[in-house]
Every structure is written in structure tokens, then in C-alpha cells.
Symmetry: C2
């Protein structure tokens, strides 16, 4: 089944202990779409400026990614620049130039209005809500990403969109912040009362946890030998996760657990290169092999 993603397309300039890039294509919707397209057709809603060329677009070509919803606006594309510390635990933002993204008002092309799987990337909760309102019939699944900025600045709007959300993808600190409880599991239970039936808690190198009303699934992080650049890992995780669910077309405990594995697989590949470098070269067979590695890494018999 098809998957709609709404989010940022950006140019990034990255500095990590392993290298640097000048103005390379990034943005949450970019990582998400490329990751998800391994499993399901993706329709992308975003905005780019007139500095976004056919060469930049090449990353989407030859994949099941529809760009009818990628608006071209006069001006420059969203630009972000950041630097990571030696152990990747600290990220310093060097520059954020919203440019055309400052006026982003997502408009769904008519053919996107009946897509069964919807991912609302990390943008203003009111924009996320406007997307849900443009959908003709209730989608099979609405998933949401957010961040500390919206939790602090727009709590009312965030509570509103959460009521329309079935799956919330969030990290552990944000879970605690959103619930106002420093204990992660208690915080997770509280968030489940805000709307989402399913919570995906991303914990970076420690893996990820899936929490529902009646079950918890915890998946280890991939024991990475060499992290080159963590940018986009969370977005690629979300892409792998929702792409898998849209691909199988069924949401239940078994497919959600598989989705956690494929999300982790896509995230784990992403950090192996600078920017989109590793993800753009990734082959479907490599994904399958790493998923089986996750099984060997975590399975036991009592």
C-alpha cells in the first residue's frame, strides 16, 4: 500500500570526526522516503527552492517515490549546518536557514488524499493537523514525529494532533518531557493516553522500544563498528518502520515487531556514511542480510 510523507527537504553541511560535507541533500522527508521506498511506494509532500536542481532530484529517481507533492517555491531551500562531537553525543547547530521552509503550507495533490498510510514529519503541529484534514477518508494509519521544540512551544496544538495519531515516533527524552515524568516506562504509559495506540521510542545506540497498552517490545541497537554520521538515522528508521508496515499492509504485533527491525536496519546503514551517502547506494539484499543479523544478535532459546 502507498505511504504519504510530509516533511522537510533540505541541504545540510555536516561536520563529524570522520569528515565533512558542503551542502549535501538531506532533510527528514528525504531520508524517510529513500528508506521507505525499499518496501512501499512513497508520495512526498515538501517544499524546495529554485536552487534545487535536476541533479539534486536524482536521488529520488529510479525509486518508488512520487514527487507530485514536492512544491518548488521562489527562494532558497532549507539549509542546516551542524557539527558532532567525537563520541557523537553532542550535536551543535552551526546554522539554520529556513528559507522557503519558513512558509511551508503542505498541500496534498488530489491523488494523495486517499493514501492509507500517512507519516507526518517533524513540523509545526498545526501543519501536521492541516494535512490530516486534507485527507478524504480516515487513513489506515497516521504516524507522527515531533521534537522538544514543539513539546515546549506548542503543547496545545501538539495535544490536538496527537488525538489523530495512531503511532508516535519519539526519543526517550522527549517521551519523558511530553509526559512530565522522568521515569521512561511510566512516561510511555501516559503518552498512550494522549491518543497514539503505539509508541516507538528511539534510543540511538541503545536501540528502540515499541510500547502499546498491553505489550512492550525492545530491540537492541546494532553494534556499529564505525559510525560516520548520525544525521538522518531517526528519519531513516521511521522510513523503514512505516515503509515495512505499508508494504505488508497489515498492522499487528508481528508486523510491528518486523517494522522495528527494518527501521533499525535502515537507521544502522544510514550512520555508516556521511549524509545520504550510504543509503543511496543501499541494495535490498543488504537489508535482508542485516535483518537476519538482528535476529542472530537478539534471539535466544530458554
Amino acid at each position: 500500500m502507498s505511504l504519504l510523507v510530509v516533511g522537510s527537504v533540505a541541504f545540510d553541511a555536516l561536520e563529524t570526526p570522520h569528515g565533512r560535507t558542503e551542502r549535501t541533500l538531506g532533510g527528514a522527508a528525504t531520508y524517510f522516503s529513500v528508506a521507505a521506498s525499499f518496501f512501499a511506494p512513497v508520495s512526498l509532500v515538501g517544499v524546495v527552492g529554485d536552487d534545487f536542481t535536476a541533479r539534486d532530484e536524482a536521488i529520488f529517481r529510479g525509486r518508488r517515490i512520487d514527487l507530485a507533492g514536492l512544491e518548488r517555491a521562489p527562494g532558497k531551500t532549507f539549509f542546516w549546518s551542524g557539527r558532532y562531537s567525537g563520541d557523537f553525543r553532542l550535536r551543535t547547530t552551526l546554522a539554520t536557514e529556513l528559507n522557503v521552509f519558513a512558509h511551508f503550507d503542505p498541500q496534498l495533490p488530489p491523488k494523495y488524499r486517499r493514501l492509507p498510510y500517512v507519516f507526518l514529519g517533524n513540523i509545526h503541529p498545526s501543519l501536521q493537523l492541516s494535512v490530516v484534514k486534507q485527507v478524504d477518508e480516515r487513513p489506515k494509519l497516521v504516524a507522527l514525529d515531533t521534537m522538544n521544540y514543539w513539546i515546549e512551544r506548542t503543547p496545545v496544538e501538539l495535544r490536538d494532533i496527537l488525538k489523530h495519531t495512531q503511532v508516535l515516533l519519539i526519543n526517550d527524552e522527549e517521551t519523558c518531557q511530553l509526559a512530565g515524568d522522568h521515569h521512561l516506562m511510566r512516561a510511555a504509559r501516559r503518552v498512550l493516553h494522549m491518543g497514539p495506540r503505539t509508541l516507538v521510542i528511539k534510543r540511538g545506540e541503545f536501540g528502540a522500544m515499541l510500547v502499546t497498552e498491553d505489550s512492550v517490545f525492545s530491540l537492541a541497537g546494532y553494534p556499529q563498528a564505525d559510525v560516520r554520521d548520525p544525521t538522518g538515522a531517526g528519519d531513516a528508521f521511521a522510513g523503514g518502520f512505516l515503509g515495512w508496515l505499508a508494504g505488508v499492509g497489515r498492522v499487528n504485533d508481528a508486523t510491528l515487531r518486523q517494522a522495528m527491525v527494518y527501521g533499525s536496519v535502515l537507521g544502522s546503514f544510514t550512520v555508516e556514511g556521511m549524509g545520504m551517502e550510504r543509503l543511496r547506494k543501499l541494495k535490498r539484499a543488504e537489508i535482508g542480510r542485516r535483518a537476519r543479523e538482528f535476529a542472530r544478535l537478539t534471539q535466544f532459546k530458554l
Copy 2:
């Protein structure tokens, strides 16, 4: 098969956000022995003072724990007092009174000298080495605990005992410190060149990882609803881990993975009460149930 443990028996005074205890029996060897005795007979080598009474000893009674190696010395038992922060991430030591433990010189009763499984608790590496030298024949397995204090203060002696060690239990920060590498997986590989064939990396709420030359196994932390007191969790983990291996009497990939589960189960119960409170009431059937919970928590089918 039988399991020898050498380590501290102590009185602890604990303060956590959930309560406090005055002078309750603790110490690494105490948590370890009670945890391990669910799976295998344990022989304890340690030292207590003349303030250690029959009432204190009661915790070991009715379990498969032999106290022939528990020395009674004139003076007071090792005393430790500590306080935990609200989220348990910080531990402040309020008092450390080594007392009789300052002169601890472990002596193995003759009947302990052929025990096949040996756990050297977190004491001076030279004392750990002296224990290994008292063993008549090469044990089936020597496992070791250590800490940042010995890594910093006695690096030469620590390197020496590591050469006699098959399993090292250590936390993630100590792994990096010992290897001089801030990247955990690279650090783990380096430590495997110092002697141990198997590294058990304890990561608190994030679970634990088993690393050998050719495989990695990662087990999630138990999603604890209520942590009351983390004291002794690592020692109970070690007890569950080595108790299981001694109990089955075989060390291979499958039994090591099971041992990781049973170690985690014992650790997860320990934190549910103040001091030994929860562990001393624990039943074997509860252990089996929680092990199956770990399976539900972590297993998936691709």
C-alpha cells in the same frame, strides 16, 4: 556444578527516592550468592566482623550456600552508605568504612580448591590473582568483576589477572576506560585481546551485551515500572549469569545467551526492593516466568 565466589559482605545504609534503610546486609558476594544459589550450589569466601550475627546469617540459610569460607575477624564488618538521585542516574557515597575488609586476604578452605566455576568479585586484582593461585587445578571457568578504581590505580595487576580470566563482567564506561577507546564496540574487541574470551557488558536500564571474538548478543533491559533501589543489581546479574552456567555445566553460545537472560532476570528483581528485600523473598517459579517475559519482550519473526 559448584560455584566459588570471592567478594565483599557488607552492611549498607541506603537512601533512594523511595525509602531508606539503616544498616542492612549487603555486599557484592551476598547479592551474588543468593542470586546464583537458585541454579547451583555456591561456596562463599569473604570476611565479616564480630557485629555479624546469626540473624544476619539467616539470609544464607535454607539455600545452597556454603559459608565455610566466610571468615570471622575481630572488628567491624565493611560498611557502606550511599544516596541515589531521583532518576537513579547519580549515586553519592556518604560513607565507606572498610573495617575488617581492609585486611581481607582470601583463604580457600581445602574443599573449595577444585571448584569448577569461580567468580572473583570486585576486589584488588592481586587478591583476585591469589585466589586463582590457590586453586588446585585449572577451573572450567574463571569470571571477573572489576571497576574504574582498579583500572586507574592498579592497571598492571589488573592486566595480570585478566590473563587468567575467561569471562569479564564490566559496564560500558569501564570497557571504554580499560581499552582507552570511547567507541564501545571497538573497546570491547580490544579487551578481548587482554585475556577474556567473553565479555559481558552491563548497561543498566539499557540491558546487557555479550561479546565474543565471533559473535555479539544483545539483551534489552527489563522495562521496569518501578525501580526502588539499584544497589546490588549488577552483583545479582553476575550471580544469575554464573549460577546458570554452573547449573547447566556447559559453556557455549546457547547457554551463555540463557545466562544473560537469567542474569537480567535476577538483576531486574533486585531493583524492585530496598537492599536484599525483594531477592530474599524471590521464588524459583517467578524467575521462570520473568525469563519467559524477556522472551516475549525481545523475540520476533522475520
